[in-house]
């Protein structure tokens, strides 16, 4: 229905005469390649396409046009090598498939050719000569002097009004005053790789239907529809492809469409679906690290754009990106270029630790000026007033840089004091959904914070109560492994509590820590898990659990 509406709108724009009759709704399948309903012949010249061009021109191609074409060139060259490898690997299988597909078409073309010469000689001898003479010599898109050999010619009886109603290209082809407008035969020159798709497209223009469910062919048809401006078919292909079961391979195909196609409104739902598929599948980046390491650039961009990415911290994302770039772009110049233009914008520097930001500044893979800019921006964000931080994280134009992801190590807000004695207060906010996922025995760690030079972290648990009678919420304070000091800490856990929303102390204690130890309380709120998670729970304010841990060192360290 959407397709029909689009077609109708298109007709209204192009020519009022078609708005009444066309509509796009009825099928004209009966008229496809039918001499009885035809007013013109479409001559389709199939020429050799990709392989020859690749082989002939790839080595000599120059890289111009700046950053975009350089990275694209690198990508194409790399893919070309892999394509050759793949062709070798599938050598045993491919020839059979090719033969099966090509043979029927050859027979068909042969039959048509047998019919056509007679008809054409009878009907339009004058137009054949000039076309035959002019075509090869005038049209040499791939080389200056040598004409591209025509592999075969197919003639299709067409109804120009039907094609014009569906496609602005055909509308202009038949009406804009150039040579084809007055001729009964119009010629389309296509590469052999476009042939199947073009036939399917022409059939769609008469019937409004596509029969294929093969993603590769549907993509070819989508490209043909884009080329000949059949927007209804672009939309239809996009819908079909979106409805097919998506795999990593198919999602990457959809994201690898040429820029001019992927930007089209009709195709956005498909590319959005592909991005969503990849970001969902690989959101546990650590678990799928080896697999993601082999994903090409478009996929990496989709995955690392996701807010739901589950990594320990933004530091881990940065480390992964550097590793990926080094593996995929061995040449340092190309690597620097791709990092600068496509990859660094994916990193949310403001959520990186200062320790890692220092490493960014000295990383030789990066452009120093850009690295400095990213780090400065991150530090300014960290130092900014909280309300401005929230505004930046929420604003659509800046959230890609500042919004928090689903980090495994939850970020904290920390206030530190040295006098009259070392003390720090750490605030940890957990969403209801995050708590819910802890059941029945999950843990969630905070990022590290420091007291008297020693690293600590908080750990939220769903665990069994001491007497093993029910599940409950536990909160623990842990000391990081590093360092051999022992330190005695007074600690207090508190949580905002309804109805006042004030922090209410839940547990106090003191403990002498040594490396790697943790202490806390298995049932912080003295209630079962189900009560804790209930809709009327006292501890979730607007769906968020607000925890506070206060650590004090009152005795000298030993």
């Amino acid at each position: 229905m959407a397709g029909s509406e689009a077609a109708a709108a298109q007709e209204a724009e192009m020519d009022p005469d078609f708005s009444g009759g066309g509509g796009g709704g009825p099928s004209f399948e009966f008229a496809f390649n039918s001499v009885n309903f035809s007013d013109r012949v479409l001559r389709i010249e199939v020429v050799a396409g990709d392989d020859d061009d690749d082989d002939d021109h790839a080595p000599g191609s120059s890289r111009d046009g700046g950053a975009g074409s350089l990275s694209d060139w690198a990508r194409h060259r790399k893919r070309r090598r892999e394509e050759l490898l793949k062709e070798k690997e599938s050598e045993a299988v491919m020839p059979d498939q090719i033969n099966c597909k090509v043979e029927p078409e050859e027979c068909d073309a042969y039959e048509e050719n047998q019919e056509e010469p007679v008809a054409m000689m009878d009907d339009s001898p004058p137009s054949v000569g000039p076309d035959g003479d002019d075509g090869p010599s005038m049209d040499s898109p791939w080389s200056g002097g040598v004409s591209t050999p025509v592999l075969r010619v197919k003639n299709i009886y067409i109804s120009s009004a039907i094609l014009a109603a569906k496609s602005p290209f055909f509308f202009k082809l038949f009406s804009n005053g150039m040579k084809e407008s007055d001729e009964r035969q119009a010629t389309l020159r296509i590469t052999d790789s476009e042939e199947n798709a073009l036939m399917e497209l022409l059939s769609f223009m008469y019937s409004g239907k596509l029969t294929s469910t093969d993603p590769t062919l549907l993509l070819d048809i989508l490209m043909a529809a884009d080329k000949f401006e059949v927007i209804s078919c672009m939309r239809y292909c996009s819908q079909l492809l979106t409805s097919l079961t998506m795999t990593t391979e198919s999602a990457l195909l959809y994201l690898d469409l040429p820029c001019s196609i992927s930007m089209a409104a009709a195709v956005q739902p498909l590319t959005d679906a592909a991005k969503e598929y990849l970001s969902n599948k690989y959101k546990d980046l650590t678990k799928f690290q080896d697999e993601v390491m082999n994903i090409p650039l478009a996929g990496i961009e989709a995955i690392l754009s996701s807010n739901d990415l589950q990594v320990a911290s933004e530091d881990a994302i940065y480390d992964f990106l550097i590793r990926w770039a080094r593996a995929q772009y061995p040449k340092s110049e190309e690597r620097r270029e791709i990092l600068s233009s496509r990859l660094l914008p994916l990193v949310r520097f403001s959520h990186m630790t200062c320790r890692k930001l220092r490493k960014v500044l000295i990383c030789t893979d990066l452009d120093h000026e850009q690295a400095t800019k990213c780090v400065t921006e991150a530090l300014l964000y960290k130092a900014d007033a909280p309300h401005r931080q929230r505004a930046l994280a929420a604003d659509v134009t800046t959230c890609q840089k500042f919004a928090e992801r689903a980090y495994k190590y939850r970020p904290l807000k920390v206030v530190e004091f040295d006098r009259p004695y070392p003390q720090c207060i750490a605030y940890l906010d957990l969403k209801r959904e995050e708590c819910s996922r802890l059941f029945p025995s999950g843990r969630m760690y905070s990022q590290a914070f420091h007291l008297a030079g020693q690293g600590f972290f908080l750990s939220a648990h769903c665990n069994m109560e001491q007497q093993s009678t029910f599940y409950c919420f536990g909160l623990f304070l842990g000391m990081q492994e590093k360092g051999s000091m022992s330190v005695t800490v007074d600690y207090e856990f508190a949580a905002r509590t309804r109805p006042s929303g004030e922090f209410v102390s839940k547990y106090k204690g003191n403990y002498t820590f040594t490396g790697g130890k943790a202490v806390g309380y298995r049932n912080l709120f003295a209630i079962p898990w189900s009560t804790f998670m209930a809709d009327d729970s006292l501890f979730f304010l607007d769906g968020v659990l607000h925890l506070r841990a206060e650590l004090t060192i009152k005795q000298p360290t030993v």
Binding site: G49, K78, N176, R189, E229, E249, I261, M263
Partner: protein, 215 residues
């Protein structure tokens, strides 16, 4: 040491085009623009030209194609301005100059429409994506800035309009055509010309009436 990729989409079958080939396709398109302005369009092959634009844009040379088209249009408009300036003032009113101006405006708008058809793939993709000025809009801008508002044309236009307004009791078809053209150029060109060529007994209400009558 390149890690061999294990998840690689089937490379999209796409021909690659180097800068030299892109340039030769742009040359064919700009040659066609020259033929279009020379009113020699019947010999052009639409499919061939459309395909060249498609291939150039698809292979990421859209910037080159766009700038070459803009350059070619600019050159053609310059040619029209030169031949317009060469028009001798006939005896009496400025009618001859105005008629020639309108004739060249008509030729320009028809040519721009044909060029827009030829590059319509670029119009729908590259121009939209990169927010370039559309070919239609570019044509208007070139005519306004390169012809009507140029130092060679504007004074004669003002003088010719002044004479026409002084000579005729009622605005005629010629004046209506000029007003329509100036209206389409926007940027207050119409009011600029009318103010400069003002005669006391002429009213804007009468002008507006004549424009609506002839549209």
């Amino acid at each position: 040491m390149t890690t061999r990729s294990q998840i690689q989409p089937l490379p999209f079958r796409r021909t690659r085009m180097d800068a030299a080939l892109a340039a030769s396709s742009c040359q064919a398109v700009t040659d066609a623009i020259r033929d279009i302005y020379a009113q020699d369009m019947e010999k052009l092959n639409f499919e061939q030209l459309y395909r060249r634009v498609y291939e150039v844009v698809l292979n990421k040379h859209g910037e080159l194609m766009y700038s070459e088209v803009a350059t070619a249009l600019t050159a053609e408009v310059e040619g029209l301005r030169t031949s317009l300036v060469a028009v001798a003032d006939g005896g009496g009113g400025g009618g001859a100059f105005l008629r020639e101006l309108l004739s060249k405006w008509r030729r320009h708008t028809e040519a721009v429409a044909a060029v827009r058809d030829m590059v319509m793939y670029m119009e729908r993709t590259f121009i939209v994506t990169y927010r370039k000025v559309s070919v239609q809009e570019l044509g208007v801008k070139l005519w306004r800035d390169g012809v009507v508002c140029s130092g060679d044309v504007m004074p004669r236009l003002v003088e010719a309009v002044r004479r026409e307004r002084a000579a005729a009791a009622e605005p005629g078809e010629l004046m209506a055509g000029v007003a329509e053209m100036l209206t389409k150029l926007r940027d207050k060109v119409l009011s600029q010309v009318m103010d400069a060529s003002s005669v006391d007994d002429y009213s804007s209400a009468s002008l507006e009436k004549s424009v609506s009558e002839y549209q």
